[in-house]
């Protein structure tokens, strides 16, 4: 059921809209492009820059945590007297770094890379389409996203600094916070809008533009994962966009959506209408933010499936089970949100309901992980750089997922809520989990996007250094949490139970700085390979999915001849064949 389209040759320059231009200007080709590959790279590169920036904010915070009250040499002076008086971090600045680290990593880093970057670049290629269903909407999506990002970063310059009420922005604190919070809200409105434009595009593209022979049950798992992700974004983001507008109004228009009556701030009664409820924000926020964490993991699971199938040289185990699980996971993700709110005074009926749904949602996650581990059995495993990252994802996601159990059960959550245990839990899933899968994706699809291989040796160094550092950073956090250490503390040594685990803070900080340095081989590799990497043809990994039929890099319109699909997505090591891979796009023989 594909839309009729013309075959576009490599370099023929027929634009999708049939303008008849044979050469696009530099601006239309590389900046305001409607080509999904250009947009994918724009998103991808922007996101990688913000990932490093967001991580740098954390590396700063880790100095204060390891050595509370100590001046930071050199950098301390550069950041100015407001943020770092005498080179010592101010508590307000610590809180800004914390709120912005979370916000930037989630909304400006991981999701734009996973969905905007990989989704945009790979999905049309994997389904045999010449582009997304709505190329101009795609361009609009990026150009609404980027101003949102710039506004978010500029908020550091606002009087009083950037947002400093956590990435969760709970009122009343966020309602009374300095100007940076207003800029955060405006920025989120732009970023959310961009996401909504993109998600509609993904859904229509996957439903309408699949190549001939590409039924739903022949789609690569990556595409299924992106389809579910698109639905999560489309349905979950609007409440947060609405809530952001409500909070904006509380801040600038005198409303009291989230402000109860009778507030006294620093001895002065707050002159507002009152009658609002701070918990309303929490419900609206978490209604998005829980599905959001599945947005963070699903594309990663998709990438892991692709890389594991390719590097085990056999079909993924339990493909249909994986698809059913990921769809069920998507549905369930909408009915667990209040497990973030167990300590707000919630009644027993609601909390029992959300505890139960939270336990239920762990099942599809366990099934997906099991299918991936079973996929290794009977394989012929090549440990390429992408495979190292994709393989490591499995135990890392296991640790992250398992440590969610004590948090999802209310009785143990009494103790663990808002401690470092939570930080360890979600970072295991997102950092050596999703981020590793995203690195796997970069190493895997870089040749398709650029026509060059990345250097394998540097890739392996990048992997091992990052893997080791990740353990030193996040494993100690579970112990800090079990000791009762609260999160978001500028100086944990104020508390005896904080002093008891302070030694671990030094270990974690050294790990974090080590992780920062470990990215150097990756950055060097990324740019060096562009210039002098080994050139590759269409299918350097001997893979089976449709993107490997297109040239590396694909031209406008992607495929030289219209692709037709003849078989399932992971037909590796089929008995009786001459090679150990039977691509989807190759006719019998």
């Amino acid at each position: 059921m594909s839309v009729e389209h013309h075959s576009h040759g490599n370099g023929h320059g027929h634009s999708q809209e049939g303008h008849g231009h044979h050469e696009l200007s530099f601006w239309r080709k590389y900046v305001f492009s409607v080509d999904h590959k250009v947009i994918g790279i724009q998103y991808g590169v922007t996101a990688l820059v913000f990932l490093f920036f967001g991580f740098t904010l954390m590396m700063l915070m880790r100095w204060q945590l390891a050595y509370p009250g100590q001046p930071l040499p050199v950098i301390g002076k550069l950041l100015g007297e407001t943020a770092m008086p005498g080179g010592v971090m101010a508590p307000e600045f610590y809180n800004q770094l914390g709120a912005m680290h979370g916000t930037i990593m989630v909304f400006l880093g991981v999701v734009p890379l996973a969905v905007g970057g990989f989704g945009n670049f790979v999905v049309p290629l994997q389904i045999g389409a010449p582009d997304m269903a709505f190329p101009r909407l795609n361009m609009a999506s990026y150009w609404v996203f980027l101003p949102g990002c710039i506004l978010m970063i500029l908020s550091f310059l606002a009087p009083g600094g950037a947002a400093q009420s956590g990435w969760t922005s709970y009122p009343p604190l966020s309602d009374i916070a300095p100007t940076g919070q207003t800029l955060w809200l405006l920025s989120m409105v732009l970023i959310i809008t961009s996401s909504l434009l993109g998600s509609i595009n993904f859904i229509v593209t996957i439903v309408q533009l699949r190549a001939k022979g590409l039924s739903y049950w022949r789609l690569p798992f990556f595409v299924h994962a992106q389809l579910v992700t698109a639905f999560l974004l489309l349905l979950a983001f609007p409440p947060l966009e609405a809530a952001s507008l409500l909070q904006l109004m509380d801040r600038v228009a005198g409303t009291s959506f989230f402000l109860p009556s009778g507030l006294v701030i620093s001895g002065e009664q707050l002159k507002v209408a009152g009658g609002g409820n701070p918990l309303l924000w929490q419900h609206l926020f978490w209604f998005l933010a829980h599905p959001e964490v599945y947005v963070l993991i699903l594309p990663a699971m998709g990438i892991v499936a692709e890389v594991i199938a390719n590097n085990t040289r056999k079909p993924i185990w339990g493909y249909r089970l994986l698809v059913y699980s990921v769809v069920f996971l998507g549905f369930m993700s909408f009915v667990v949100w209040a497990h973030h709110m167990f300590m707000t005074g919630m009644g027993t009926t609601m909390s029992t309901f959300f505890q139960t749904t939270t336990m239920i949602i762990s099942i599809p996650s366990v099934v997906i992980l099991t299918c991936f581990i079973m996929s290794l059995y009977g394989g012929n495993i090549r440990f390429t750089a992408p495979m190292l990252f994709a393989t490591a994802f499995l135990p890392m996601f296991a640790i992250g997922g398992l440590t969610g159990l004590p948090l999802g059960l209310t009785a143990s959550d009494i103790y663990l809520h808002d401690t470092f245990y939570v930080i360890g839990h979600f970072h295991y899933v997102v950092a050596p989990g999703t981020l590793f899968a995203l690195f796997a994706g970069v190493y895997y699809w870089y040749p398709k996007a650029t026509g060059k291989r990345m250097n394998e040796a540097l890739g392996k160094v990048h992997f091992w250094l990052s893997f080791v550092c990740m353990q030193f950073i996040f494993m100690p956090m579970f112990f800090q949490g079990m000791a009762g250490l609260s999160r978001r503390l500028y100086d944990p040594t104020v508390y005896a139970h904080g002093r008891g685990v302070q030694a671990l803070n030094v270990v974690i900080s050294l790990g974090a700085w080590g992780l920062g340095l470990s990215q150097i081989p990756f950055i060097v590799n990324f740019f060096m390979s562009l210039k002098s990497g080994v050139r590759v043809a269409e299918n350097p990994w001997n893979a089976t999915t449709l993107e490997w039929a297109a040239p590396s890099p694909p031209g406008h319109g992607n495929f030289l001849t219209e692709p037709v699909v003849y078989r399932e997505p992971y037909e590796y090591s089929v008995p009786g064949k001459a090679t150990d891979y039977s691509p989807q796009f190759q006719a019998e023989g």
Binding site: N95, I265, N277, I373, L376, A398
Partner: protein, 261 residues
């Protein structure tokens, strides 16, 4: 205050309901470790046995894994047990087992940026009225000095005295933003939401000097929103109440009850 009790795992539990929470934690972590080690062994086995090497090929046909069905079933059964056998009963007891209000010590806790205010009702057992307009440096909760029940109230800042062995009912609230009333050794935590008074209760089992740590980001002073928790013997608690009771009124003609303990 004994620093040595704080290490890298749960601090001592000095509450009546804490043992069940600690037991759940223990069962959970053994279960998690079992799953991780089990999966991990199989994972490493596969990586070694099925690595690519000359003459080795992959198996196209999917391996029939009966074992995984049993393992999934086992995981589901354990999760149901954890949920309905362990967590839910503990949670329901924590929330619903209201102590006998007559026997309990009542305290109102009001968090603010960046201190904890504790309001005790005094000998008459009644809380005096409070009004936001009366808040001042000396009177952080705005207790009305004209209101008779409030004349014997005790208000402390960052000092939380409770008697050992008696139920304590705490109503938590906040003046400004969301804080969180959190005492690790008592295994209690409750967000303090401005505009709401939320009750929680506990009973301490051992006297000692411990800490309360705000557990919800509340501004630049969140890190220093610490209160001393003094779990007193009944004698020490009575002594403290007597020492901190407001002085009796001056006028000799007034039939004011003697503030005697």
């Amino acid at each position: 205050m004994d620093e040595k009790i704080y290490g890298w795992w749960l601090p001592p539990d000095v509450s009546v309901h804490g043992a069940k929470i600690d037991q759940l934690m223990s069962v959970l972590h053994w279960f998690m470790a079992l799953l991780f080690v089990g999966w991990g062994i199989f994972f490493v086995y596969c990586l070694i046995k099925f690595r690519a090497r000359p003459g080795h090929a992959a198996l196209y046909a999917p391996v029939k894994a009966v074992a995984t069905k049993y393992i999934e079933g086992f995981v589901v059964v354990i999760e149901v047990f954890l949920l309905f056998g362990l967590s839910t009963p503990v949670w329901l007891a924590y929330k619903n087992d209201v102590p006998d209000q007559a026997k309990a010590v009542h305290v109102r806790v009001v968090g603010e940026q960046f201190a904890w205010n504790f309001h005790y009702p005094g000998k008459d057992g009644k809380f005096g009225k409070a009004d936001a307009s009366l808040i001042s440096g000396d009177n952080p909760l705005g207790v009305d000095p004209e209101d008779p029940p409030g004349k014997d109230d005790i208000v402390t800042v960052n000092q939380f005295h409770v008697p050992v062995g008696k139920p304590v009912v705490v109503e938590v609230s906040s003046k400004d933003v969301i804080h969180s009333f959190n005492i690790p050794v008592l295994r209690v935590k409750q967000d303090t939401i401005p505009g709401q008074q939320i009750p929680i209760w506990f009973q301490a089992t051992k006297p000692g000097h411990f800490e309360l740590a705000c557990a919800q980001l509340c501004g630049l002073g969140h890190y220093r929103m610490r209160a001393d928790v003094l779990i007193d013997t009944p004698e020490d608690f009575a002594k403290w109440q007597a020492e901190n009771a407001p002085p009796p009124p001056e006028a000799p003609a007034a039939a004011a009850p003697e503030e005697k303990k």
